[in-house]
Symmetry: C2
Subunit: 440 residues, 2 copies
């Protein structure tokens, strides 16, 4: 039997403590599976005295994660510190430079510095493994990198942020506002005190950028992701979606087009009967469209200490078994340059909810502007609310009313142009709501 | 760069031809991902002259797959011949004995001889890879073996046979009989001329036995699977399922219980809102319940040349990258002995459809026998058909009527005992229908 694989873990929060417990609990099975025993030799965290429910007394303690990363006593550096800069970045760089394998759950670090870190790993012939950084406990990195090795991928999309999916699920089920559901999510610990990073789509964008690089063999380009969050979604949009046969999910979508790889994060109408539409609460899901398998969908936990630890330990087990694959599926030098595709060029169906003045000819005016911009309308829904209809049966008050349009495939540029014209015509009482439709 | 990995492919049907095309088409990407180029050097099939749409002129031809398996010109033997005995078995044994890696799509071979073959692979330190044998293009073997390495699995279940799922989907959607849907499936090429192997659940049982061994670390025991097919499912059962909030799927289920690992294949009521209930047509799905990730579901194509080839090529790529993991996740010597659990001991909810004589006291008689066997009833549905009600409003004809019971968790032994007593009481006009309920 070979020497034990020596692990150094930096960051002992929920995930780190779970990793420690899992390695102890599954020791025999992991050794049987990989042919090598795993031993945690050293750890680093901010507070040495906090009770984490695990015995650290036999482990070497480092106050400084960078010193741990360089330690002669470890073969693998497990980075669970977090953050795209500072200690996490320095420690990962130090570990790679010292020829140590790195396992990380840090999507921000990879999204911003993935290419440079992959190059450093490659130079030393070590692994930079990051299964835990995307979709928590779902082994999606492994599925794309290895399971679909024979496939050419045309699209990857998914529900990558549990906070947003929890909020949208509750808004839909209970007819609540975004603000009310966010407050509940915060109370339950599903959302941060400052929820911007989650609810405005940036977390999803980081994860999507990683998937894009791996699935399409292009350089990672997190800044190239078009990002729109869920804070503007209103209960009425969810009701309308339901009537039209859709659900609204915050999706990250990477799609091969003639112009390059579109990378976009936005609230999305998905057909109610699709597998991804069934995914409720904090659960994550990823669908890959690829030439040989057609469609492959993975559904599972996107966060949580044990689920994230599961992905970290899977990466460690791969290293123990001797598996060192190129970080993004191929050497950094052979990754294609990222060509950004402007959102204006996106082509797809659109849900457009206008709030129009309730007067004769408005629907005709809207329809004309749409036609001028070459947009075909699949369906149109105009209805006063039940409340308005009962309190004012003759329609005398002439309050603004919603007018919902579903378009056939159109380019975003044309849709924006039509909406600008409709606005110039003075037909709108409020800014329009626009939600993209993603078909299976 | 190391030497190219030399492949010999036995069996050039739809899958084999797809593998050849995929390796040619994805050559650059596969080399970039694995660090090694792949080259098919030799092939074997029954008919040398058949046009397969691929150029075989540069490849060495073997009439005998066993001779190909032993050839000095290959490093990996790809077995796509099929069948649990005969040429496939001899060739795989010969390849392993000669120290060659084996990739196979042959579930029957693994189900019947998996342990012996795994032992032979282990003795020579070569891979015996079989991703394509279960759920076609879904990388479920990899997900369980590697992605969930840190987890203890408590249950694996799935839709593993596309033919059955196609038939049940059409029966549900169109109210057709099993026989009518089977005929269509045969016309479309989804079912064989002799459909027994698929529709009676044996194909699912083979795949389940493989998943059981891998997920629970026990010796493979295909004969230990309790098997029941879908041929007795009637349109009325699908209607009732719908009313009660379920769909009927043919599931393979392996579940850890105190007595051992239950392995069972049977038509199953699954909650309509579950991910697996959305899986329609020939698509496959597998759900794994495990301690760290909770629930992980994979959905994708279960068959087809390209999808199956995708799994075969993924296995080949793993070998090219140097990955040799123990066949069933650990060495054969450390696999636990399989302890068979009698179906009588199964505990779960049951859907019981009785066809009872339409006379006073029948429902009471049934309920009494259930109570005597310690079975609690969750719901009960008794209804004459609309047709009967309209043609005979007074109920004078007294035709037998359906009586549907949903039980709380009960043991199969108790359910069978109660049904036998009800039958002895002379209450039944037909044999009872019994469908197990699987909760998420």
């Amino acid at each position: 039997m070979t020497q034990p694989l020596r692990l150094g873990i930096a960051g002992l929060g929920t995930v780190g403590a779970s990793v420690l417990r899992m390695i102890a609990h599954r020791a025999e099975a992991l050794t049987a599976a990989t042919g090598r025993s795993l031993t945690v030799t050293a750890v680093s965290a901010r507070d040495r005295n906090r009770d984490r429910g695990v015995d650290l007394s036999s482990l070497r303690w480092f106050d400084d994660p960078v010193a741990l990363a360089r330690s002669e006593e470890i073969d693998v550096f497990v980075e669970l510190v977090g953050g795209s800069e500072g200690a996490a970045k320095e420690a990962v760089e130090a570990a790679l430079a010292a020829g140590k394998h790195v396992v990380t759950a840090n999507k921000a670090l990879l999204a911003h510095h993935g290419a440079a870190l992959a190059r450093a790993a490659e130079a030393r012939g070590v692994a930079l493994a990051y299964e835990a950084s995307v979709a928590g406990g779902i082994p999606v990195i492994k599925a794309i990198r290895e399971g679909l090795a024979g496939n050419t991928v045309s699209r990857v999309y998914g529900i990558l942020n549990g906070t947003c999916n929890y909020i949208l699920s509750r808004m839909e089920a209970e007819g609540l506002t975004f603000e009310a559901c966010l407050k509940d999510a915060q109370a339950l610990g599903y959302a941060e005190a400052d929820p911007t990073f989650d609810v405005e789509g940036f977390d999803t964008a980081h994860k999507l950028a990683i998937l894009t690089s791996l699935a399409f063999g292009v350089e990672i380009d997190a800044e190239g992701v078009s990002v729109e969050g869920i804070s503007a979604i209103q209960p009425l949009d969810l009701t309308m979606a339901d009537e039209l046969g859709y659900r609204i999910k915050l999706l990250g979508v990477a799609q091969a087009t003639e112009a390059g790889i579109e990378q976009r994060v936005h609230p999305t109408m998905v057909p109610k009967a699709s597998a991804i539409a069934q995914v409720m609460g904090v659960t994550n899901a990823v669908t890959v469209d690829a030439d040989a398998v057609g469609e492959l969908t993975l559904i599972g936990p996107g966060a949580g200490g044990a689920a994230t630890a599961s992905a970290v330990v899977a990466d460690i087990a791969d290293i123990a078994a001797g598996l060192v694959r190129p970080t993004f599926g191929r050497s950094v030098a052979t990754l294609a340059a990222s060509r950004r595709v402007e959102m204006q060029r996106h082509e797809g169906g659109y849900y457009i909810r206008l709030t129009v003045h309730d007067r004769t000819g408005v629907a005709a005016g809207v329809a004309t502007r749409m036609a001028e911009a070459n947009i075909s309308i699949e369906s149109i829904l105009q209805r006063r609310s039940a409340q308005a209809a009962s309190s004012d049966p003759q329609g005398l008050s002439r309050q603004p009313v919603p007018l919902v349009l579903i378009t056939y495939a159109a380019t975003e540029g044309n849709v924006r142009e039509a909406l600008a014209a409709i606005d110039r015509d003075g037909l709108l009482a409020e800014a329009p709501q626009l939600i993209r439709i993603e078909r299976e």
